[in-house]
């Protein structure tokens, strides 16, 4: 008799059973996935910064849609709206005289592309005769621990204005209707001074760390005025990752997964049954042999 054969048979039996158990296990359903779909949004605010232009109605259209998504009525000089959260996409901003029907042709319009997480200011600037819509990219993020400031010059009385933060110039001889880029300044309370040829004004403005600001220089009948806007604010320090906010007391869970045990049971049972079937077959053949012998 070949000595290897029985061992090999045992191994073959075990192997077949393992394969079968493996197939059964593979049929188990995959874990559920729950993708969190989220529509990306950006931010948009509207401003009227043309001193001799009468109040306007401002319309915001999603490109390709003639129904206005947002209408801001009676926006007068010096008004800056709060930021609106808008879905990412292309938009048209249109201005009509205050109270004019929405079907009337707009005085002015421009397009703006809103990107995810970005903020924009669409401002009517310049004199009434040369009114235009400026699309400004607003910065939300500062260098660590700093404050960012920019200046919009919207005074027609003083054609050129210089704006100082203490001894630091934020804008030098800035022409009417123009905007500076952001300047990084040390955080704190700033003494902001705006001066033209004849008029000047000053204001104490809080510039906390990690905030961005727009200083708007405006005409107030007879003198200059400063409108400090906070564009955005961040955290002093971004925590890394999520938060460890649970101890598991409400999490239903098995002491250990029953799956390996179930697999072992199934595998064992298969082996045993297969072997028993074989044995029975063998015994029958013995019996047959035995009766022949007798």
């Amino acid at each position: 008799m070949n000595h290897q054969a029985p061992v090999r048979r045992v191994l073959r039996l075990l192997g077949a059973c393992a394969l079968l158990t493996g197939w059964l296990a593979a049929a188990a359903p995959a874990a559920l996935a729950s993708p969190a779909t989220h529509q990306a949004t950006g931010y948009l605010r509207l401003a009227h910064l043309s001193p001799n232009t009468p109040p306007v109605d401002v319309y915001l259209y999603s490109v390709g849609n003639s129904n206005a998504m947002v209408v801001v009525h009676h926006v007068a000089y010096g008004t800056v709206s709060t930021y609106q959260t808008v879905p990412v996409g292309d938009y048209t901003v249109a201005m009509r005289g205050a109270g004019k029907p929405s079907s009337s042709p707009p005085v002015l319009s421009t397009t703006v592309k809103i990107q995810a997480g970005h903020a924009y200011t669409v401002a009517g600037v310049g004199p009434a005769a040369g009114l235009r819509l400026a699309v400004l990219n607003d910065t939300l993020t500062t260098p660590k621990g700093r404050s960012l400031v920019r200046v919009i010059q919207a005074s027609l009385k003083e054609k050129k204005v210089t704006v100082m933060d203490g001894s630091k110039a934020l804008a030098s001889n800035l022409a009417f209707g123009s905007v500076t880029s952001y300047v990084s300044v040390a955080p704190g309370t700033a003494d902001i001074k705006a001066a033209g040829g004849t008029m000047s004004t000053s204001k104490s403005v809080g510039l906390p760390a990690d905030t961005t600001h727009t200083i708007v220089v405006l005409d107030d009948p007879g003198h200059l005025t400063i409108d400090p806007l906070t564009d955005a604010a961040g955290s002093n320090l971004l925590p890394s990752g999520g938060a460890a906010t649970g101890f598991g007391g409400m999490a239903p869970r098995p002491g250990s997964s029953p799956l390996p045990w179930a697999a072992a049971t199934a595998f064992g049972a298969l082996v045993a049954v297969a072997a028993a079937t074989r044995l029975r077959g063998r015994r029958r053949s013995w019996k047959a042999r035995g009766s022949h012998a007798r």
């Binding site: 000595h3 997480g117 906070t230 239903p252 029953p258 045993a272």
Partner: protein
């Protein structure tokens, strides 16, 4: 190896010889002996033995595993919490980076009412969490609730034995209201815009904690699968809310 070639077979006949004189008797005796001893040597019998032992241990393991199952305590329905009385913050200071410090949080729809403790950052740079599971906390590095920016409030989903202050946070829906009482008595009202679950590995740090141009709130707790090995949940639930205008 060698299961069939091991010793017993030659000794069988000898034992049988001792007890029997005649040939027919000898054959009768020999059969049972032979099969008993040979059984051990048969591959099918060995396989059956292995199978039975495996199945037995599998059943035992199953019983043990199910015995050690942890079922959390039952929690009753939401206890009603009234929206805080008092003048809401009007006008909402949307153009201000200033708001007075937060003192308490109320979320009527999920029965949350908690004072707000102060939280910072741990040595490893992660968000500090409240020492007790029954109170929520405001991360002082983030803007104050009601001021421009993303204000961060954190609470536990559970303790070792029961629900925490933010146990039902994941049940919030867009448009649910969140109230934060400020130190000066004013009330900042937020409206839920979305609820998300992120794996801690894929946590969108900048999206959650980063700068924002409007007053926003982030409520954070744990969710998803609890990892018994590390003792932590694998995901975070983040509720995004914006100031109600």
């Amino acid at each position: 190896m060698g299961l069939t070639s091991r010793g017993p077979r030659p000794s069988g006949p000898r034992l049988a010889d001792a007890g029997a004189g005649t040939a027919p008797a000898r054959r009768k005796h020999r059969r049972p002996h032979l099969s008993l001893l040979a059984l051990v040597g048969r591959p099918a019998v060995v396989a059956a033995g292995i199978g039975l032992v495996l199945a037995g241990s599998g059943v035992a393991g199953l019983l043990m595993a199910s015995h050690r199952d942890y079922t959390p305590p039952r929690v009753g329905p939401v206890k009603p919490v009234l929206a805080p009385a008092g003048r809401p913050q009007t006008p909402v200071p949307q153009t201000s980076a200033h708001a007075s410090a937060p003192v308490s949080l109320t979320i009527p729809s999920i029965g949350v009412r908690s004072r707000l403790i102060r939280l910072g950052i741990t040595k490893s740079g992660a968000l500090q969490v409240p020492a007790t599971t029954t109170v929520a906390g405001w991360y002082t590095g983030s803007p104050r609730p009601g001021a421009i920016g993303s204000s961060v409030i954190v609470g536990h989903v559970d303790s070792f034995t029961g629900p925490g202050i933010f146990y039902r946070l994941h049940l919030l829906h867009p448009r649910n209201l969140i109230y934060v009482r400020q130190k000066d008595g004013r009330l900042a009202v937020f409206r839920v815009s979305s609820v998300h679950q992120y794996t801690k590995r894929g946590f969108p740090t900048v999206k959650v904690y980063g700068p924002a141009p409007t007053p926003q709130l982030r409520l954070i707790t744990c969710g998803g699968t609890f990892d018994v090995q590390t003792g932590h949940y694998l995901s975070n639930i983040v509720v995004y809310a914006t100031i109600a205008s």
